[in-house]
């Protein structure tokens, strides 16, 4: 098969499946699950073939054509970046589909769930493969929709419905900026196609506008990749089914913001202020999220905050503003997708085994009862906290190394602090949940999950450890990703600091949490997430109340008198006058009638 057929298949097959399930197959949930998983497998194969197929022409068709100035295509940009990203999306996607078959076995809305997953795969493919901003934006919104559907899968639960709404609305704020950014870029370069923009970016003289455009585009990434200050939706999104958290809210969709930044890295390169802003945003997000993660008790929330933190790393890497930095960020995205999906699926297995118990203080001792889950989870943790020679180690070092090399000292320092915090809170999670003895009946009765669940875990665990090594990266990911050999040559400050962070973090958490049944440390500021949610709710309330009060005055004193009371009053007055003539005698009416006719004749003739 040629590149064109493969690309179109990858894009349209999941859509076809989602449509088929929603329109006709809803009743046969087993068949829906099978179809959806099958389509995920086929797209994975197609992407693998695509990675090996090399260059090739793809057909695109014009969608909106307004002459020379504005044209939107549905078209593809198949290069190393998109091929690599597609492999991540489809491979993690397939494993999550597989895991879901077991996890969602007895769910009422199983068909709906799998239709949502397929819809998501379609939308994500569209983002990754699109060759222009507008098409990307449309699919950008589509992943938002599928994320909304999947977070709110258990919509009868109020918290899930609220979380879905929150995720969608928060994303809309960022997307609004993104849309303005796309328009600004179009004003500057006269094109929305990435390749044409890249060619035109050298000729731009209005640097202020370019910075503004880039910042607006970055707004989209802030929303989708949950950076400060729009990060609040991601932890709440954990209300969705755990496989969804693994696929959408850890591995792929939240990485779309990073991917988009990597796609327009030439714009970031051309700006200075915007680039610094992006780097600082990423670094601050990484730090703040890590601090919040220290005091969370819900296993999925801890992972959610660690996702935020790692996304901060990736965004920071894009903000370095060099191709090498961008590659480092994408490399981290690639390794992170595997080990974070692993951690989430592992937590899913734990939650499943503990009868939907998510509080780590109500688990404990799971190491012996669920050995496979424990060991895979431990490998994922090792990759996340950057134990040397695991995949996460290489990619994180690469980002830090690159940031230092480009002189971004501030973000670098913040990132190093995060490197101390990450091992601490992840070790805390593992010790509390898996070591010691069971603290509740749920934990005591936990049993190892079945093979449909642990096979994906094992595969992901393999990838978590080895995905950074050349035999795997080379055929899958072309230039850039594998270029970390210089790390070994420059074994210096960064490596020493992060190794120190690892040792201090793990040892600290080990000493502090070993054998504890309750959290010995209590820092309300972190546990309450810096009170940011409360602040937002307060702000919204204040703003909303203000607007409401203003509108109330307008309504009460302007609209009501003018629109309601005045017509009512005039109608009533007219009625009062006219009722005088209603005296009930038919001859008087006849007299009025005759008099009126006479008056009319008089008026018309004279």
């Amino acid at each position: 098969m040629d590149v064109n057929t493969l690309t179109w298949t990858v894009l349209l097959l999941p859509l076809l499946v989602a449509t088929a399930i929603l329109l006709g197959l809803k009743r046969w949930s087993g068949l829906s699950a099978l179809l959806s998983t099958g389509s995920a497998f086929i797209t994975l194969v197609c992407c693998a073939l695509l990675a090996g197929a090399g260059e090739g022409e793809t057909k695109s068709f014009p969608w909106i054509d307004l002459g020379a100035h504005f044209r939107v295509d549905i078209g593809f940009l198949v290069d190393n970046l998109s091929r690599g990203m597609m492999l991540i999306v489809t491979s993690v996607g397939f494993l999550v589909h597989l895991f879901s078959i077991a996890y969602m076995k007895d769910d009422q809305g199983k068909s709906r769930y799998f239709a949502g997953l397929s819809l998501f795969m379609f939308s994500m493919t569209g983002i990754v493969l699109s060759d222009n901003f507008v098409m990307m934006f449309i699919f950008w919104e589509l992943v938002g929709v599928s994320s909304y559907i999947l977070i709110g899968h258990w919509y009868e639960k109020e918290s899930a419905a609220d979380a879905a709404k929150k995720a969608f609305l928060t994303n809309r704020i960022g997307d609004f900026g993104f849309m303005i950014g796309i328009l600004l870029v179009w004003i500057l370069t006269g094109s929305i196609f990435f390749e044409e923009i890249e060619a035109a970016v050298g000729g731009i003289t209005n640097m202020t506008l370019l910075n503004a455009a880039m910042l607006c585009v970055f707004c989209g990434a802030i929303g989708k990749s949950a950076q400060l200050p729009l990060h609040v939706w991601l932890p709440d999104a954990m209300e969705g089914p755990t496989p969804v958290s693994a696929l959408i809210h850890a591995a792929t969709m939240v990485a779309a913001g990073v991917f988009m930044l990597a796609r327009v890295i030439f714009l970031i390169e051309a700006t200075e202020f915007a680039a610094h802003f992006i780097a600082w945003t990423g670094a601050v997000t990484a730090l703040v999220a890590a601090l919040m993660a220290l005091q969370q008790n819900d296993i999925k929330r801890i992972l959610a905050y660690s996702t935020l933190s790692q996304l901060g790393y990736m965004v920071m890497a894009q903000g370095i503003g060099t191709p090498a930095g961008s590659d480092a960020g994408m490399f981290h995205l690639y390794t992170h997708a595997f080990f974070k999906a692993l951690l989430f699926l592992g937590s899913g297995a734990v939650i499943y085994a503990c009868h939907h118990q998510q509080d780590i203080w109500k688990m404990g001792g799971l190491r012996r009862k669920m050995p496979i889950t424990f060991w895979t989870f431990a490998l994922g943790t090792a990759a996340l906290i950057a134990v040397p020679f695991t995949s996460g180690f290489w990619s994180k070092e690469l980002i830090l190394e690159e940031a230092l090399h480009e002189g971004l000292t501030g973000p670098y320092v913040l990132a190093i602090i995060v490197a101390f915090l990450t091992p601490f809170y992840m070790t805390r999670l593992v010790i509390v949940a898996f070591f010691g003895k069971g603290r509740t009946d749920d934990a005591d009765h936990a049993r190892e999950v079945g093979p449909v669940m642990w096979i994906p875990l094992a595969l992901l665990a393999f990838m978590a450890v080895f995905s950074a090594y050349k035999p795997i990266t080379e055929p899958l990911l072309a230039s850039g990703y594998g270029s970390f050999s210089h790390l070994v040559e420059h074994f210096g400050l960064t490596a020493i600091l992060s190794l120190l962070g690892l040792v201090v973090g793990v040892a600290g958490a080990f000493l502090l949490y070993r054998g504890r049944d309750r959290d010995p440390v209590h820092i309300p500021l972190f546990a309450r997430r810096f009170y940011l949610d409360e602040l937002y709710i307060g702000l919204v309330r204040l703003f909303q109340d203000g607007v409401a009060a203003f509108l109330d005055i307008v309504d009460r004193y302007i609209v009501d008198p003018l629109v309601a009371r005045l017509p009512a009053l005039s109608a009533m007055a007219a009625g009062q006058i006219l009722r005088v003539f209603q005296i009930g005698n038919v001859q008087v009416y006849a007299y009025f009638f005759g008099a009126a006719v006479l008056a009319l004749v008089f008026y018309l003739i004279l």
Binding site: I583, Q587, A590, Y591, G594
Partner: protein, 108 residues
Amino acid sequence: MESALTLNHFLLVSGILFAIGLAGVLLRRNLIVIFMCLELMLSAANLTLVAFSRFRLEDGQPTYDGHVLLFFIITVAAAEVAVGLAIIVALFRSRETTDVTKVNTMKY
């Protein structure tokens, strides 16, 4: 044959008839009488129509279009009378009176 009757004579009779009818409608209390006076007014109008038609000369000849029209009006008027009388009968059945001053409940 020299006719002494001119258009004005007809119009005068018609006007008197109409005035009598109007006075009856406005002043009499018995509904049936009012109704008859109403018919009188209609007849006055018809008389005017026929008179104008008769005295309109086309190429020196009188035309009779109005007369034809009149037959239609009379026919329709007959139907209208039937309806009117039916209403009066219905009214008498419910109120046992045809005095219009007694039929005055619909007022403010």
